[in-house]
Symmetry: C2
């Protein structure tokens, strides 16, 4: 077990609709990352573009990882007006999503 | 941008086949986590079970995050005999997977 034990993390995989322009993608990422400035319980925000060569991405092109201090912080984020407004606005851009919330655990032996 | 910039991360979402026993799941997680002791370029290994309430998990139940120092480290992991042996043995347990490799980036403003 390590220090990350109490934290809650959300991982979101997405695929944009084909008609989504690069400008829309850029705006999406900027607005998403900005939630860290608007929502107190959102502690870290990271994203990445898929660079895997195994072709096991199932069509997903981007991953987002958000970290919260605890489950209460994650719950506060979900109902926060800034998150709801963002979600409402960007949902139409997305063709496919997969999202998991979890407490990261390791097993160092 | 932050200090995580140079790192490579792999996120794997999985769903086990219905017939996979709890013992098999436990063994899978133990063996997977043990790769951190066998493969030098694998720097951190974390896992978590989905606890989300939004029902956007697309059937995935577990997430695994692996971190490598750089792209070379990630490439070395992929072809490492311990990884290949593990992969061969556990692939039959899995009904569904999605995997993305990326360089985590943040945009603090």
């Amino acid at each position: 077990m390590d220090k990350a034990k109490g934290f809650m993390r959300r991982v979101l995989l997405i695929k944009f609709k084909a008609e989504t322009t690069p400008d829309h993608v850029e705006r999406f990422i900027k607005d998403y990352s900005n939630l860290v400035n608007l929502i107190e319980s959102l502690k870290t925000w990271h994203m990445g573009k898929d660079v895997s060569i195994d072709n096991l991405h199932e069509g997903f092109t981007h991953v987002f990882e958000l970290t919260f201090e605890d489950a209460e912080g994650a719950a506060a984020y979900v109902v926060h007006p800034a998150h709801l407004e963002f979600h409402e606005r960007i949902a139409p851009l997305l063709e496919k999503t997969a999202m998991i919330d979890y407490k990261p655990t390791s097993f160092h032996t």
